[in-house]
């Protein structure tokens, strides 16, 4: 996987076929039996979702650093031209300001879709998200809320992003009741989940796997559709061990599942999709079936969201477990420059862990 960010970053001059026509083709009508679907990559799917969000809700706005001309990952291409500079606009480089502004906009009943250029830059806005956005409804006794708020941020490794362009900060936000955290694994998922996040009446932090922006291509229905939040999905059925992950890591885990199968191990793979509030039932049901659990994410293992899943499942399935819950995650170091291959929870690490858990 991956020549990575040089490809992402190079501003594309071509417009994906179909994109220019998107505006006309979108409709909010419920899909018929065979909705038109074409192959799109992840950033184009995000772009479609944003087009739909702006088209279907005149009170929706998209803003962030450099989004006016398409953003560094091209996710907002064409939006400013189509919906005007009053609804799609650049902000100064001030993340705290962007999110604070978005919360205010959302508090007045608008849909504020804010972009933080890299998830690594979200920390200046941490206070606004944790103390302002997440608790607004609770502390005002439901008089106010910022449910229309969605913060999009590309997260994760790209092969050579080094310390400040590769981090996966999802666990920080999973510690904040009041926020939702959503991470898609593919273009089709990204479009449906983003539309759900935007329309969800709670503030959502939506992390996009930047490694997959161009790499992941699949058929994406062109119409307006939403995928439910807080519902995990079994994307591969198996009987020996349950693997839980989200975002870009799922493709790594899937490869490990395929390799494990060659050695006679049947793996069940679950995409959690929404990290809080997360779908414990689906994971529990699977672990009850397989008796083993492995969780994998790019963020450092200690305090990662995998720990929360492990603890919850041990509580629920203690007597059913046949091996300790395994976590294959990033190491407990800053995201490294030259050591990225060592740091990452690679396919072989996942495979090793599958084997040692099954043979426990």
């Amino acid at each position: 996987m991956g020549t990575g960010l040089t490809r992402f970053g190079r501003r594309m001059r071509w417009v994906p076929s179909g994109l220019t026509r998107l505006g006309k083709q979108f409709s909010t009508s419920v899909c018929d039996n065979n909705p038109p679907a074409k192959s799109f990559n992840l950033y184009t799917a995000i772009n479609q979702a944003l087009h739909i969000a702006l088209e279907t809700d005149p009170r929706a706005y998209v803003f962030g650093e450099d989004v006016g001309f398409g953003g560094v990952f091209r996710c907002t291409t064409g939006l400013a031209d189509r919906f005007g500079k009053t609804r799609v606009f650049n902000t100064p480089l001030c993340e705290q300001g962007i999110v604070g502004f978005a919360i205010g906009l959302a508090a007045m009943g608008n849909r504020a879709i804010a972009e933080i250029q890299f998830a690594d830059y979200i920390f200046p806005a941490f206070d606004q998200l944790v103390n302002e956005a997440a608790k607004f409804r609770y502390r005002s006794g439901n008089q106010f809320n910022c449910g229309g708020l969605t913060v999009r941020a590309p997260y994760g490794a790209v092969g050579h992003g080094a310390l400040y362009h590769s981090q996966s900060p999802e666990a920080f936000f999973c510690h904040v009741p009041g926020l939702k955290v959503v991470i898609p694994r593919s273009p089709r998922e990204a479009k449906g989940l983003l539309l759900s996040s935007i329309r969800d009446p709670n503030p959502v932090v939506f992390f996009e796997p930047k490694w997959l922006y161009r790499l992941s291509v699949e058929e994406v229905p062109e119409h307006d559709y939403m995928l439910p939040l807080s519902e995990a999905q079994v994307i591969r059925e198996g009987s020996d061990i349950t693997l839980v992950g989200w975002g870009a890591q799922l493709s790594i885990m899937e490869q490990a599942c395929i390799d494990a199968e060659k050695e006679g191990i049947s793996c069940e793979l679950i995409d959690l999709k929404t990290l809080i509030p997360w779908d414990k039932e689906t994971v529990e049901a699977s672990v009850r079936k397989t008796g083993r659990l492995l969780i994998s994410h790019e963020a450092p293992v200690t305090g990662g969201f995998g720990a929360e899943i492990a603890a919850s499942i041990v509580e629920r399935c203690f007597l059913r477990l046949e091996a300790p819950v395994a976590r294959v995650c990033g190491l407990d170091t800053p995201f490294p420059l030259v050591f990225e291959p060592l740091y990452m929870p690679t396919k072989n690490k996942v495979l090793d862990s599958i084997k040692s858990t099954v043979n426990y």
Binding site: E65, D66, F69, L163, Y164, D332
Partner: protein, 393 residues
């Protein structure tokens, strides 16, 4: 709007003529420190303070040093560009070409006792502080001879012995740190100052104002240097700032607007600012400069500005060309001698790259070092927590 602003300060050629008429004889290259006075390209504009004189004291030696150092920086950045495109440099990479005069002029006015802290566009600041090319190219390529032992990369250069506090990754986050450095300097009464550099993009970050307030409240010897290259990533300054007059943004803090393409003006301003900061506390220097490259290597730098604009700046305001003209008009060296200097710099860069390529990658165990200080005993685990398990050194 941005364009007219950039070119508004047209350079009159008379400024390049000698001011000291007594200066007639050719001096040997770079050893002559006879005083020489040269006027800055444009006057300083001041806010809440009296601007320093436009007449800058210099010498043939200094001008030739400026030329050589800036030529080296320019060549180095262009080489870094090629290395990045060859995928020998990983991580993010932000180049300084066009802005060399700021690093050069600042160094000429201060000592290594003074501290410098900057953001991620840090290659030339490091070189200016006395770093060498081998350290730079090794760090860029993640080798152990790098200034951060290959663990930082382009955005994270540091040089402790020269008080270069480096290379920070988050826009604007280094400025409050710089104010903390200045507090320590004032506290220990070492009569030194801190230059905290940031860009016009970072100038809109809230933490800047928080730090400025504290610094002004306690009269900290900190100089906030806004390197205004007119684009915060891909957004023109006037689209991002209600007042792009960054030297005035400190309100109660004095400020000075400087032609950041004129090394001598930068030197004069930094000398003035250091004296001011030691006596009266913080001051903002806005350096009107320009980056020829895009924001980072993934930005071609041409989607939000015109090629004509870039070419125009190169032709009319280039910091190296300005010094070249000064040297030639004062007859301090011949055109060929300057070309030879450039060739020599090119060779130095090529040699350093060849040497850096020989430098080994850090040992994989280095992944776990420096996370905590030695002895904390924090464990790190491999995949299954059994076969690979190490205590962080």
């Amino acid at each position: 709007m941005a364009l007219s602003h950039l070119f508004s300060s047209s350079r009159s050629s008379t400024l390049l003529k000698p001011l000291t008429t007594s200066y007639l004889l050719r001096r040997p290259i770079s050893t002559d420190s006879t005083p020489l006075t040269i006027e800055t390209s444009v006057p300083f504009t001041s806010h809440q303070c009296e601007a320093p004189s436009r007449a800058v004291d210099t010498s043939p030696k200094e001008l030739l040093t400026f030329f050589r150092d800036m030529a080296l920086m320019r060549r180095m950045e262009i080489a870094a560009d090629s290395l990045y495109k060859a995928k020998l440099v990983r991580g993010f990479c932000h180049l300084y070409d066009g802005q060399e005069a700021v690093a050069i002029g600042m160094e000429a006015a201060i000592t290594k006792k003074d501290a410098i802290i900057t953001a991620y566009r840090d290659h030339c600041a490091f070189l200016g502080r006395g770093g060498n090319l081998l350290q730079i190219f090794s760090e860029l390529m993640g080798r152990i001879d790098g200034c951060s032992r290959g663990k930082g990369g382009s955005m994270h250069f540091y040089k402790k012995d020269a008080n270069f506090y480096g290379g920070h990754g988050i826009v604007g986050a280094q400025v409050p740190l710089g104010c903390g450095l200045a507090f320590a300097q004032k506290y220990s009464k070492d009569e030194a100052v801190t230059f905290a550099l940031y860009g016009d993009g970072a100038a809109n970050q809230g933490q800047l104002f928080e730090a400025l307030n504290i610094s002004a409240l306690w009269d900290l010897p900190v100089i906030l240097v806004c390197e205004n290259n007119h684009y915060g990533m891909g957004t023109a300054e006037w689209r991002a700032a209600k007042s792009p007059a960054y030297y005035k943004r400190g309100d109660y803090v004095p400020g000075l607007k400087v032609d950041g393409m004129d090394a001598l003006a930068v030197k004069q301003a930094c000398k003035f600012a250091k004296e001011h900061a030691l006596k009266n506390g913080p001051i903002i220097l806005e350096m009107d400069t320009y980056r020829y490259h895009g924001h980072s290597m993934s930005d071609p730098g041409s989607t939000y500005r015109t090629r004509d604009e870039i070419t125009g700046v190169r032709q009319e305001r280039d910091p190296i060309e300005r010094i070249r003209k000064l040297i030639l008009s004062h007859d301090l060296a011949t055109e060929k001698e300057l070309k030879d200097i450039e060739k020599e710099m090119r060779k130095q860069v090529d040699d350093a790259i060849a040497q850096a390529k020989e430098s080994p990658m850090p040992d994989p165990s280095e992944l776990f070092t420096n996370v905590y200080v030695k002895g904390y005993g924090v464990e790190s685990y491999g995949a299954d927590r059994k076969e690979f398990r190490g205590v962080l050194p």
